[in-house]
């Protein structure tokens, strides 16, 4: 039977099979498995049916723990149920997995395997998550490629139904989950044939039912638990045979043959590797090459890892084997070896001990590879086979890194390559926002589905959310592609953004005769001279072809704006000659129609026009014989940067982090802060320029700047003596800090992302030309050098004395130095201004517990991080534990700090005679209510430390120990501010239980919820903060329910400070809320409206959206301060006017709401009515709260009455 060929990624392949053979799906988003859930949700919403002609239900839960609970419940009630997850998500499912397996329940969990956070979080792939689930009792079936993912998902389901053992079906996160490949799609008939309906009915027959009542999940005592636990053994014994039977059945139906262990290589191989996952593809490719070179090598692919069948395993190995290397993509510190290595050693030893090992006892070594998607290439694999030739091969080795600490790493020749000549290998450098990846995914589909070629696409992103770089790796050709690694020998390289030719040595990977396609605004005649020395030299040396296009011009002319995707895609097809020109254009246009048809004819026409105009603007450039530009040595980071930044961080910035050695890495995940300032990204084409003649010195631009790149300072005139000649300043208009002071507003143009929010909020207009403001956008490049000098000078001007700054005023608060700067957050980010504000106001005494999500990525993702320190070396200390435990993590900070304070105070009192009672009283009695108090306290503690050190000399014994203790604790006597930060996914969903508990604890912690109303980091999935009527993933037809009122829930405790703020609507209220929250000696919760790219808005104008949200009454501004109760005042103060505009006037400013009117117009109308009702009701309630009189107030009034 001819089956459809599709070009899809691994996640879609898994989701496709799983969707069609299940009835209930419960999920929770986590990278890199999120797309599986999203696919099934979209299919379910569109009414796609499974093989039983039924539409599966898809439910997003509040956590993976919740998802696994729902799965368990659905399974217990007879539904075929599945879920998708990765990493920490799988860990959260483990408790339920034990139960599901213990109850012999059929299910398949599809896992995109990912690293588990240890010294750091990593979203990338390895097997540490699935290995952590080994003991659950789930069977474990591995897929190595996109095709296998689709196949094994079915084989797993058929096997679980027959064996009653639940299955983990896993594949490598990113390398397999995100690799786009042309595969054969299984038909629904294939699935129907594989899935035995009688087994499905048997599964359902085991369901709980009041019509046939039983109890399951009992509690058992020492007398029987053990025996009962052993009852499952026969099922595990039978399981491997069942899986093989299903694999054989699959082979009969579909044709592809699989075995529990598949051997590839020479029949008389002596050196054999054993591996599972995507790395097996690269090993197979290498083995094929090495055997063609008459090397006696082979490899064994492990498919069914649990239950591990020793019999099948031994039988799969050639009898000639002499040396075995077991490759594990995981690390178990402290173990005698990684799990699969130990399994293999055990299997062979057991057989040996039984006396029926069919070959001589081989050498068995184990090695680790590919942690967190570390590259695993034929060169490394060859290195492993070479190692096996040695008399004493290194055991417990690592490959792919340089371990110069414990010397585990193997050497290999990186030049070794086996890329087949006939395979096209293209690398495309693009910007995240220019559509390069989308276009390449599209090209792979066109080639895959329009030719007989095999095709593969893999996409690499940097970790920044603004100005991110993408590199697409595309392979296609007549030979099957098993190259599960990045391209380092390319025959086509495309540079979609001109600036990249300076940043990346992209032609380094080009082979001789390769083609280079460059998008440049420089005309054909002048382009050669515009190329850097290295590019010119490579083009000549490698005899390359050069093509250029001005894609920006074509995009502009055809209305495409910054999206050059279609244009560059057309160039690629025009040059690569995969199809004849006409055919290529026809295929591109057909694909455009398919992709954009639903967005309107005009969009399709615009893209068509771009295709048509591309060809006439594409030119081949003759390569001259001589290099015309001189080589320029440039440092990635300034020579003033700290050594670690120069030697380590700089390599990561350059994209050469793979070359760093183990000894260069901190061993406990501790890194210096404040490194973003060394990474001058220069990503903004336009930057704000200050016009002092217009400026009113309000500092609004400073407070809204998401990247802390626009700053204000007030200083005395004498500071100007070394100022660069272009440095701008004006007289400071206020007298708060003295007479005759100067004011400067300075932009860090090399760090600015060009979001324009500062310009938008600037209230001052040029009186003669009202289109101009006090800050206006100008091209960055001509300003770069001048402003770099100005910025450096600006930084040298002393900061204002913090103790004199009136923080309650927006303007004054913005003279405080931000200790969170130049993060990789999205341009125009709505979260970072709040984060920055915390760092300005309290940064020098702050500890941050950050929930996983956007804020942990822009806050803590290498290479550079934004949390920084002031000139005294003080600044926020930051850590990220998990997604689900952040509130508890932060509470732990407080508990420790409080304990340290208590201990310090006790010791202090003990040694009052030696230290002086006045000093001690000063320290103990200082309430530290404001900056001046804190400054004073620091002074006392300095004196204390000095005294303590003096005392050390004369003290001995216990006293000496106590003094040392006190020295280590004395800094805790200065107030510490604990901030617990995270997004709504954490606060409203996965971490809510913990948050609730922490708020109820009464402890002095400050919680900042950056409420974007969706899971922003993983791509806009619905959370309980998502408002009614808004579209989000898992709410494609608009969220039917209202947003959870987190503030109201917190206020119900009575002793929690709660504020709801929106910087764009009322910056003064925001600033005051932060001050009060921090000052409150108890738990505080600030819910901050954070606009987001997931809202589908113009980020440069987003403060208008914030204002509209408040004006509509949807987002109420309030502060609830329990302190006011003590003053007989209503603790609740409603601070917005509300209901000034209808809710829809706000909502329809945003695509998240508006798109529903285009997809489900009637539902949109209905939901909008309901959403308006929500607003009205909520507003009414808050108004009533605003007029409440506290009980104490009434009582006091009563007393007054009595007196009268």
């Amino acid at each position: 039977m001819e089956r459809k060929k599709v070009t899809i990624d691994g996640n879609e392949a898994a989701a496709y099979t799983a969707y069609h053979i299940n009835e209930v799906i419960a999920i929770y988003p986590i990278t890199p498995s999120s797309n599986m859930g999203e696919w099934t949700d979209a299919w379910s919403a569109n009414g796609m049916k499974n093989i039983w002609n039924d539409v599966p239900s898809v439910t997003e839960m509040q956590s993976e723990g919740g998802a696994s609970g729902a799965v368990h419940g659905a399974l217990q009630n007879g539904a075929l149920t599945t879920t998708f997850t990765s990493s920490q998500g799988l860990l959260l499912m483990i408790p339920n997995m034990f139960k599901i397996a213990g109850e012999l329940t059929s299910t398949v969990f599809n896992i995109a395997a990912r690293s588990i956070a240890a010294q750091a979080l990593s979203i990338f792939g390895d097997h540490s998550d699935v290995m952590a689930a080994r003991s659950t009792g789930f069977a474990m079936l591995s897929s190595n490629s996109v095709q296998e993912i689709m196949d094994m998902a079915l084989i797993a389901q058929a096997s679980t139904l027959e064996s009653r053992i639940p299955f983990i079906h896993f594949f490598d996160g990113f390398r397999s989950s995100h690799e786009v490949k042309k595969i054969e799609q299984l038909s629904l008939d294939d699935m129907r044939e594989m899935i035995d309906d009688e087994l499905v009915l048997a599964h359902r027959g085991r369901a709980m039912s009041p019509d046939n009542p039983f109890i399951r999940g009992t509690a058992q005592n020492p007398d029987v638990f053990f025996q009962a636990r052993e009852t499952v053994n026969p099922f595990y014994i039978k399981c491997p045979e069942i899986v093989q039977k299903q694999m054989d059945k699959f082979a009969k139906i579909v044709g592809r043959k699989y075995h529990l262990f598949d051997y590839v290589g020479a029949p008389d191989a002596e050196r054999i590797t054993i591996i599972m996952g995507s790395g097996a593809e690269a090993v197979e490719e290498t083995v094929e090459y090495l055997t063609s070179q008459q090397e006696k090598v082979g490899m064994l692919k492990v498919r069914l890892y649990r239950p591990f069948s020793i019999e099948h395993f031994i039988n799969a190995l050639p009898k000639t084997v002499k040396t075995i290397t077991v490759l594990d993509r995981t690390k178990e510190p402290g173990a005698n070896g990684e799990p699969m290595y130990l399994d293999v050693v055990n299997a062979i030893t057991e057989r040996f001990m039984e006396g029926n090992l069919p070959f001589e006892f081989p050498k068995i070594i184990g090695g680790r590879y590919g942690l967190s998607s570390k590259e695993f290439t034929p060169a490394m694999i060859k290195g492993i086979y070479d190692e096996m030739k040695k008399e004493k091969p290194k055991n417990h080795f690592t490959i792919g890194i340089m371990d110069d600490v414990t010397n585990t790493s193997l050497d290999y020749n990186p030049e070794f390559s086996i890329e087949p000549e006939e395979t096209f290998r293209g690398k495309f450098y693009g910007l995240g926002a220019d559509g390069t990846v989308g276009a390449n995914k599209n090209s792979i589909k066109i080639i895959g589905e329009g030719t007989d070629y095999f095709a593969q696409g893999y996409f690499v992103y940097d970790s920044k959310k603004s100005g991110s770089t993408t590199i697409s790796h595309l392979r296609f050709g007549p030979k099957e592609i098993k190259s599960t690694y990045l391209i380092d020998r390319a025959n086509f390289i495309a540079c979609h953004q001109t600036v990249f030719i300076e940043k990346f040595d992209m032609l380094e990977d080009a082979i001789e005769g390769a083609t280079f396609l460059l998008n440049t605004q420089v005309p054909k005649e002048k382009v050669w001279d515009s190329l850097p020395h290295k590019v010119q030299s490579d083009l000549i040396k490698k005899k390359m072809n050069l093509y250029i296009i001005d894609a920006y011009k074509v995009a502009q002319a055809t209305g495409m704006g910054a999206r050059i995707n279609t244009i560059m895609q057309t160039c690629f097809f025009a040059i690569s000659n995969i199809f004849k020109k006409e055919k290529a254009i026809e295929l591109i246009k057909s694909s455009i129609k398919k992709t954009y048809g639903s967005k309107g004819d005009k969009i399709v026409e615009m893209n068509f026009a771009a295709v048509d105009q591309t060809i006439e603007n594409l030119f081949k450039v003759d390569i001259p014989e001589k290099v015309t530009n001189k080589a320029v040595d440039t440092n990635t980071v300034s020579e003033n940067a700290p050594e670690f930044v120069r030697k380590v961080t700089a390599r990561m910035i350059e994209g050469k982090g793979d070359s760093l050695k183990v000894s260069q890495m901190p061993n406990d995940g501790t890194y210096m802060t404040g490194t973003t300032k060394w990474e001058k990204r220069n990503i903004a084409l336009e930057v704000p320029v200050w016009d002092p003649d217009v400026c009113i010195q309000c500092n609004k631009c400073v407070i809204v700047c998401p990247h802390a790149t626009i700053r204000a300072k007030v200083y005395t005139e004498d500071q100007l003596k070394d100022a660069p000649k272009d440095f701008k300043y004006m007289k400071f208009k206020a007298k708060d800090y003295g007479e005759d002071l100067l004011y400067s507003l300075q932009v860090a143009v090399e760090d600015c992302t060009g979001c324009k929010i500062c310009v938008d909020v600037c209230p001052a207009k040029n009186k003669s030309e009202t289109r101009l403001k006090a800050i206006n956008m100008h091209e960055q490049l001509p300003l770069r050098e001048t402003e770099r000098k100005n910025w450096d000078f600006f930084l040298s001007i002393p900061e204002l004395d913090r103790t004199k700054v009136n923080m309650t005023k927006v303007k004054d608060s913005q003279f405080l130095e931000p200790l969170f700067e130049f993060s990789g957050a999205c341009s125009g980010c709505g979260e970072t201004p709040y984060v920055k504000l915390v760092s300005q106001m309290f940064g020098d005494r702050t500890l941050v517990a950050n929930a996983t999500g956007c804020s942990s990525i822009y806050g803590g993702n290498l290479p550079t991080t934004p949390w920084s320190a002031n000139k005294d070396g003080r600044g926020p200390s930051w850590n990220n534990s998990l997604f689900e435990d952040n509130a508890e993590f932060g509470l732990g900070f407080r508990l420790a700090i409080d304990k340290h304070i208590e201990h310090a105070e006790t010791l202090l009192k003990t040694y009052s005679n030696e230290l002086g009672s006045e000093l001690i009283e000063n320290i103990l009695n200082n309430k530290q209510k404001n900056e001046a108090d804190i400054y004073e306290q620091r002074g006392y503690v300095d004196i204390l430390n000095k005294k303590l050190k003096d005392l050390l000399g004369s003290a001995s014994g216990q006293k000496n120990k106590d003094i040392n203790q006190l020295i280590s604790l004395s800094n805790y006597l200065v107030k510490k501010s604990v901030w617990i930060m995270g997004g709504d996914g954490w606060a409203y969903d996965i971490g809510y239980g913990g948050l609730d508990h922490v708020l109820a604890s009464g402890k002095n912690v400050n919680v900042l919820v950056l409420d974007t109303e969706v899971y922003s980091n993983t791509g806009g999935q619905m959370s309980k903060a998502t408002p009614r009527a808004a579209v989000a993933k898992f709410a494609a037809a608009g969220k039917p329910g209202a947003k959870k009122d987190l503030g109201m829930m917190a206020m119900s405790y009575g002793n929690v400070y709660v504020a709801k703020v929106a910087l764009g609507a009322n910056d003064t209220q925001t600033v005051r809320a932060f001050i009060e929250a921090e000052a409150y000696d108890g738990p505080s919760l600030i819910i901050a409206y954070s606009h987001c790219i997931a809202h589908g808005i113009n980020m440069g104008l987003a403060m208008h959206n914030q204002k509209a949200a408040v004006d509509s009454g949807y987002w109420q501004l309030y502060r609830y301060n329990p302190e006011l109760v003590k003053e007989n005042k209503n603790p609740f103060k409603l601070e917005s006017k509300g209901l000034k505009i209808p809710f829809k006037d706000f909502a329809y400013m945003e695509t998240r709401y508006k798109m529903l009117t285009k997809s489900h117009p009637e539902r949109a109308k209905q939901l909008m009515i309901e959403a308006q009702n929500d607003v009205n009701e909520k507003w009414n309630m808050y108004q009533q709260m605003n007029s409440f009189k506290p009980l104490t107030e009434e009582k006091s009034e009563e007393k007054e009455e009595v007196k009268k």
Partner: protein, 329 residues
């Protein structure tokens, strides 16, 4: 008094037609208009530019951040097919036709020639009884002459009238050098009716914010005078039905316009101000006035004070201006 009126070949029960505006966005309001005796309804305008804008916006915001970060392939769910074209408007025409007996006149504001004809055809297919072209162009280009602009108008009318079979009326502004010539050209191009006049909403300036701001002001009764003049002048000089729009509040306004030669009088500001029920009230007063003054039908008074039928036609021309000035003395 008989109120029956013919307009664009449609038989109307009276001359009051709610003009294009927000009131026709809800089917319930259209039903209410019928219940209050409106003779026909001109639906709110379909703006090609707005459709394009919304389509681009949707495209931009749902794609601009896609595939730019490892953790998020995109930020919006695939909601299947979007209604990004004029479908919503066309559906509205169909619903309005199903809901009421009175004629439904669609209103169209195009951008490019292709858009005008494409959407006109779709409107016809959706079942509209007639089409009003709302040609709204501000001649701000110093390189474009008056005749260039006039040509554009004529091209649009020709293109649309040769594309659809339903009658087409054209809503014009009064800002042509030769209004009569232009009116005639439009009719020659195929228009069956002229709707006089379109009001260009004039921007305002916010002095505090130093910004140009939109400022929608309802029409005022004195505005009908301009309509009276041109309807009276054009009544017998062009072969098309004339509709008055702008400033129609009372039965007296209607009487004046009908006497000048209007077939129908369109109302919007009055309905926004007083409610849809206002139609009924005005109609009652209109009948009362007609019967009190012993008119048998509207046709009897229609055009009775037009350019041709008045004693001194120059009253509608420059002489009228001089009289106005003199009246201040």
């Amino acid at each position: 008094m008989k109120l029956e009126t013919k307009y664009l070949g449609l038989k109307l029960k009276n001359p009051i037609v709610p003009s294009a505006g927000p009131l026709s966005k809800e089917i319930d309001d259209i039903k209410k208009m019928e219940d209050c005796e409106a003779a026909a309804v001109v639906l709110y305008s379909l703006f090609e530019e707005q459709i394009e804008h919304e389509s681009f916006e949707l495209y931009h915001h749902t794609t601009v951040h896609a595939n730019s970060h490892a953790e998020a392939t995109n930020y919006f769910p695939d909601a299947g097919n979007y209604t990004t074209g004029p479908d919503e408007y066309l559906e509205h025409i169909k619903k309005a036709k199903d809901a009421v007996e009175i004629p439904i006149i669609a209103s169209l504001n195009g951008k490019l020639l292709g858009g005008w004809t494409e959407y006109a055809k779709k409107i016809e297919q959706a079942g509209a009884d007639a089409l009003e072209l709302n040609i709204y162009k501000i001649a701000a280009d110093v390189n474009k002459s008056g005749s260039d602009i006039e040509k554009t108008y004529i091209e649009i009318v020709k293109a649309v009238t040769s594309t659809v079979k339903i009658p087409v009326a054209v809503k014009l502004s009064p800002y042509f050098s030769s209004m009569s010539w232009m009116a005639n050209q439009i009719v020659e191009a195929g228009a069956k009716g002229l709707v006089l006049f379109n009001r260009f909403y004039q921007p305002d300036i916010d002095l505090e914010k130093l910004e140009v701001v939109p400022n929608v002001v309802l029409s005022t009764p004195e505005m009908i005078r301009l309509r009276v003049r041109w309807i009276a002048i054009l009544r017998d000089n062009i072969k098309a039905d004339l509709a008055a729009t702008g400033g129609v509040y009372t039965e007296k306004d209607i009487l004046k316009l009908i006497m000048s030669g209007a077939q129908v009088t369109q109302m919007l500001s009055a309905l926004l101000k007083f409610g849809i029920e206002h139609i009924k009230e005005v109609l009652t007063k209109l009948i009362y006035w007609g019967e009190e003054h012993e008119y048998e039908s509207l046709d009897q008074m229609r055009g009775s004070i037009c350019y041709k039928n008045v004693t001194d036609p120059s009253q509608f021309e420059r002489a009228n201006y001089m009289n106005v000035l003199n009246s201040y003395k």
